[in-house]
Amino acid sequence: MTLFVIAAREFKTLFLSPMAWTVLAILHTIFAYLFLTQVETFTLLQPKLAVIENSPGLTDIIVPPLFGNAGIILLLVTPLLTMQLICGERRNKTLALLLSAPVSSAEIIVGKYLGLLGLLLLVVALVTIMPLSLRVGGELDTGKFLANILALTLLTAAFAAAGLYLSAIAGHPVIAAMGSFGMLLLLWILDWTTGVKDQRSELLEYLSILRHFQNLQSGLISSVDVVYFVLFIGGFILFSIRSLENYRLLK
């Protein structure tokens, strides 16, 4: 299937340049530092926790903060990875190759998206490996741990979809990166106004990507949160397909 041909090419190309390697190396260094800090915190707290009944365990203290921070770091990094997806092809004039091949716009978009998602899933895998090492000496709450993996996976997939759309409409990669970063950050901080003077806006709360992420992180996998992410990803992919079709009409 041509969709997977495009995805495989995209994924392999990322590793042909130093880009993917640099991203993986730098991110992993940061994640490792964050992980060690969390482990340190746990060893300091351990004697106090031992006397409290129903105290938070190893998983609670290490995993959610680590995955939460990973989410924020990916918020900064994903726009840089997605900015070239469609915009770069257009600027290098290589889009003509895809447009004149017997491939639909949907296949081009989804193929490119899956290729990049491959790299992002590798990043998620790197984050996941570290808490797994704790199983050598301790015990992990498997349910909570899996919920965090799911939350981070959905979050990065959503970041990538939004980045893909901005790359499809922007004329310059930097504009695409800035646009997606701005949009994602806004969605991240959207519900910060709640709690101020007891104001509550249900709409803002629903739109906030952070709230849904944290709900999933707490181990409560409700369909509302999962559906939010699925709609987010599906919506932006559809917009991207539309924008590519429009490109043929307007150009």
Binding site: T2, L16, A96, S104, R248
Partner: protein
């Protein structure tokens, strides 16, 4: 005679600017169609529409019988396209790139190696197959672009200025390749060079300000170029009225007192009669030189006629 391309009443607007205005033509197997026109005439826009990179504002395009809008997948399967900038992934090697193109165009898995080897060989790329495209010279990159367009053995090959950036030897090779391919494919190529059309095409279309102003076979065009010109210099001023009475002479323009330019019909060449008359009249013939009329003249005349 299978119709490979049917383009009917194509229009394309960029905002209010009309880049292509009511262009219709057909292409059959064995045709090599040369697309000529000054800069900004609408050549590239027309080609982009034929390849599905650009939607026409109005009109219909059929590739090998498949409508490009209704059945894009089937239509594009029969299409090989080299845009004005070759679409190359610079970080890949030539072989990797062609492998990707073969997969994109749906070449069957067990035919891919063979198809790539064939294209590499045809475009003279075998020696650079393992090199990165980014490190190749412009001429080689252009050839990779051509290889990409003929790789999947499409029925219709569309080349936008295929010989740009090539040295004379390579240009010759590419022309030979185009003639070879032209035997069992339909080819459209655009160019600024008229000599190229004369060399490698069987049909020619001239497009100007978005409109087709000429659509002829090369043979018919040669007929249009039927008029020959000779420039005659004599020592004494010749009597123009006496000369224009000779059969076969169409018109005479006087350049100087003793220098005239004679337009004649190639079918009935009057040169022997002309020399006889001049010598008999005692004007003393000093020079008789043919003036070559090339496609360039026709091109310029046509565009001028169109503008006036």
């Amino acid at each position: 005679m299978t119709l490979l391309i049917e383009a009917e009443h194509l229009y394309r607007y960029y905002g209010k600017h009309c880049a292509v205005n009511d262009v219709s033509f057909t292409l059959t197997r064995g045709d090599v169609l040369g697309f000529l026109g000054p800069n900004g005439a609408g050549k590239t826009t027309t080609m982009q529409m034929l390849c599905g990179n650009l939607a026409p504002s109005a009109g219909q395009i059929k590739i090998n019988g498949f409508d490009l809008l209704d059945q894009p997948r089937s239509a594009k399967r029969h299409l090989g396209y080299l845009p004005d900038t070759p679409p190359l992934y610079r970080e890949l090697t030539v072989y990797e790139f062609l492998h990707y193109c073969a997969q994109l165009h749906g070449v069957a898995k067990n035919n891919i190696t063979q198809a790539i080897d064939h294209a590499l060989q045809r475009c003279g790329l075998t020696s650079v197959a393992k090199r990165l495209i980014a490190n190749l010279s412009k001429g080689f990159q252009q050839r990779v672009g051509i290889a990409q367009a003929i790789l999947h053995d499409p029925e219709v090959i569309i080349l936008d200025e295929p010989t740009v950036g090539l040295d004379p030897l390579q240009i010759n090779e590419i022309r030979t390749l185009i003639r070879e391919l032209g035997q069992d494919h339909g080819i459209i190529l655009s160019t600024h060079r008229l000599s190229e059309v004369q060399e490698s095409c069987s049909h020619v279309q001239i497009i100007h300000q978005g409109q087709l102003i000429l659509n002829e076979s090369i043979a018919a065009l040669k007929q249009m170029m039927d008029t020959g010109i000779v420039q005659v210099t004599t020592r004494l001023a010749p009597d123009v009225s006496l000369l224009s009475a000779l059969p076969g002479i169409k018109s005479i323009e006087t350049l100087a007192e003793n220098c005239i330019r004679i337009h004649y019909s190639v079918v009935d060449n009057p040169t022997p009669r002309l020399t006889e008359t001049i010598i008999a009249a005692g004007w003393e013939l000093q020079e008789l030189a043919p003036v070559k009329k090339s496609m360039e003249d026709i091109f310029i005349t046509l565009i001028r006629d169109n503008e006036s």
